[in-house]
Symmetry: C2
Subunit: 382 residues, 2 copies
DNA sequence: CTGAAAGCGCTTACAG
DNA sequence: CTGAAAGCGCTTACAG
């Protein structure tokens, strides 16, 4: 047994298990290493090489089993062919597994098509949370890639500003207004989506609409509210919209009854990860004995993804397409095909569903005439 | 406007937008580039640096926003803190979205905990399929990472052998027998899982068991069959097991009736992506008027993941745990904490379900006495 | 305790 | 059409 100094490797182990380099191919083919690079790489000057040399090099490469070292290639070429994906939390959550998946599907497809691999940054590790220095390093790590996609609600402005300052390509999935509009993004057009839903409701005859939004001030939530307001305003004078911020726990039969007594014939709520507002609303309707959609219409600014085949009227955010377009846009930014902040909004697809219908013919008085339980019995079996 | 030769970049643009290198930090701190490397890298010699120097360098690095270039680190024979994930197909399939997700959840968690990021290789692009050379390059790309996890049924032996030869750390998720047992893996113990199910059935009183397997010769399928055979053999002389290879389309009421008339009281089948065999079996049972589990018991070597709350007797493959352990093992291989092929099998969790019960008291004759339709009517409402 | 140097395996101007 | 050289941004012995 020989004593070996740890880490002391012979200059070039001739074990045969070592991976052949361009230099080895060059030696075998009797050309220079640079020529090998020219022949094997997909450079435009390839045409400037003699057919004979090319064949000789190709043969030598094949017989030696040469495979380019991607690391060296990337260091030299200053590109990694890697697209970063930063999620601020687990990219693969178990609780709300739907959250990122559709985006990732699109991102992967576009990346594969365009010849990029994906670098998934495994959320901020516990030790980094709250520590600004470490957190900053976490975000800066994205520079390993040629560019980076950001998902999730957090926007670390200082870090992103720094990245933007070095012209590091960034694309957000979801609209972001931070950093003075300098962030590129591919988002959903909630205004258009809300208009689809509101127009559908107004077309059915509804005149008093209630919009129930959560208490979270995220862009997706604010944009939905904004879309609702605009769509109602665009519907003309006869249509009244009301917006209420609510916790799911405060949405119960009593509240619902009060709304209905005030003449509200449809409640629109927002989609979120858990759709707790929708669930609370459906429960409240059941308890209040309101048939859907005969007595009450319910719509969602978004989609109920908790059930495979949900029938709630709403719209589908084109998540996969957003992922694809975001990745494609990022590649354009990386290659220089585009520049500057690019901001796209993709229009959702309207989902007619079965939870909306014409408003009940009876006025508010009719609602209060029946007790909830009686109504429920009658409605279900009548 | 100045004419610029394409690609001609100044030696070192002083725009401040460029990404800082160790050399820049060194200049700012008034030390050599190598000292910066020593201070910033996590090398053991770190202690041999004066506190003053370290602080100066750290300060300069922070103020410049220095982030080490992982590609350069990797080339310089260090590590990238990257774990590769190679899937041979889309990592995020849309059709059978359950397939990789649970593994990825575990992989991400372990990676995050251990301080690694994930490099997802975006499946073989269409142009690479079938082309050996390009395909080989696709697999070789994994060397960008410190090590790589492989998922999926394909095992490109030549490529993996090459990686193994350069001692590149590889861990398969799922048992693999290729390459003469030199592949490390973390798999599911199907033999143990099958024993759980068979023991349960025999304990209920079943003596004639039929195992219906698909026609695909993948390890997971073969291992299940093997597990079934062994468990039956271990049950003693009174228990008979039969194995049948079948397409889902060939499993119908007639076939089922024939089996039952031969005294088979329970049909066990295998889990696969679509669980088509299980579906065919349930349909056949319904058409044959066999109540489950009163007239016929049905069990799965695996789990029915098509429904959120499936009640089929079977076992759950600990997919998330497999992902976690595979990633942790890979890290051990990368750091040298372990070496050589390491092969782990994780025991599944038994799922009692509601599709198995004691065998029907009546013998085969009883089965043929009734016509299917009559039986169905009587069974459902009697 | 710190610096100068070599080298990882490529790509890319630049000469010949 | 091909070669010699520099350089990508690091790490790691090896000197001082």
């Amino acid at each position: 047994m020989t004593t070996r100094v740890p880490g002391s490797t012979p200059p070039r182990p001739n074990t045969g298990s070592a991976r052949p380099r361009q230099a080895d191919v060059a030696a075998a083919a009797g050309v220079s290493q640079a020529t090998v690079s020219l022949v094997l790489g997909d450079n435009p000057e390839r045409l400037a090489l003699s057919e004979a040399t090319r064949e000789r090099v190709a043969l030598a490469a094949r017989s030696l089993g040469y495979v380019p070292n991607p690391v060296a290639r990337r260091l030299a070429a200053a590109s990694t062919d890697l697209l970063g994906v930063f999620t601020f939390s687990h990219a693969f959550p178990v609780e709300v597994r739907d959250s990122y998946y559709p985006f990732l599907v699109g991102v992967e497809r576009a990346a594969a098509r365009l010849g990029y691999d994906l670098l998934l940054f495994t959320g901020t590790s516990p030790s980094n949370v709250g520590d600004d220095g470490a957190d900053s390093a976490a975000v800066q790590k994205v520079r390993l890639a040629d560019g980076c996609l950001f998902l999730g609600r957090r926007v670390p402005e200082v870090e992103l500003d720094r990245l933007l300052a070095c012209r590091f390509p960034i694309v957000y999935i979801g609209r972001r207004t931070e950093l003075g509009g300098r962030l590129s993004y591919v988002g959903a057009d909630y205004v258009a989506g809300a208009a689809q839903v509101v127009d559908h409701l107004v077309g059915l005859g509804h005149r008093r609409l209630l919009y129930l939004r959560g208490t979270d001030d995220v862009v997706a939530s604010t944009d939905r509210e904004d879309g609702f307001r605009r769509a109602v305003a665009a519907s003309g004078e006869g249509v009244q919209g009301e917006v209420l911020r609510a916790y799911a726990t405060s949405v119960d039969a009593r509240a619902l009854r009060a709304w209905r007594e005030r003449g509200i014939s449809v409640v629109v709520t927002e989609e979120n990860d858990t759709n707790d507002l929708l669930a609370a609303l459906l429960t409240a309707a059941r308890e209040d004995g309101a048939r859907i959609p005969q007595d009450l219409s319910i719509a969602l600014l978004g989609e109920d993804r908790s059930l495979p085949e949900s029938e709630v009227t709403g719209f589908r955010i084109p998540r996969q397409q957003m992922g694809e377009e975001a990745a494609a846009l990022l590649v354009d930014l990386v290659t220089g095909a585009r520049s500057g902040p690019v901001q796209w909004l993709l229009e959702p697809t309207f989902l007619p569903g079965t939870t909306t219908g014409p408003p009940a013919v009876s006025g508010p008085a009719a609602v209060s005439e029946r007790t909830p339980s009686t109504a429920a019995e009658g409605d279900l079996h009548g």
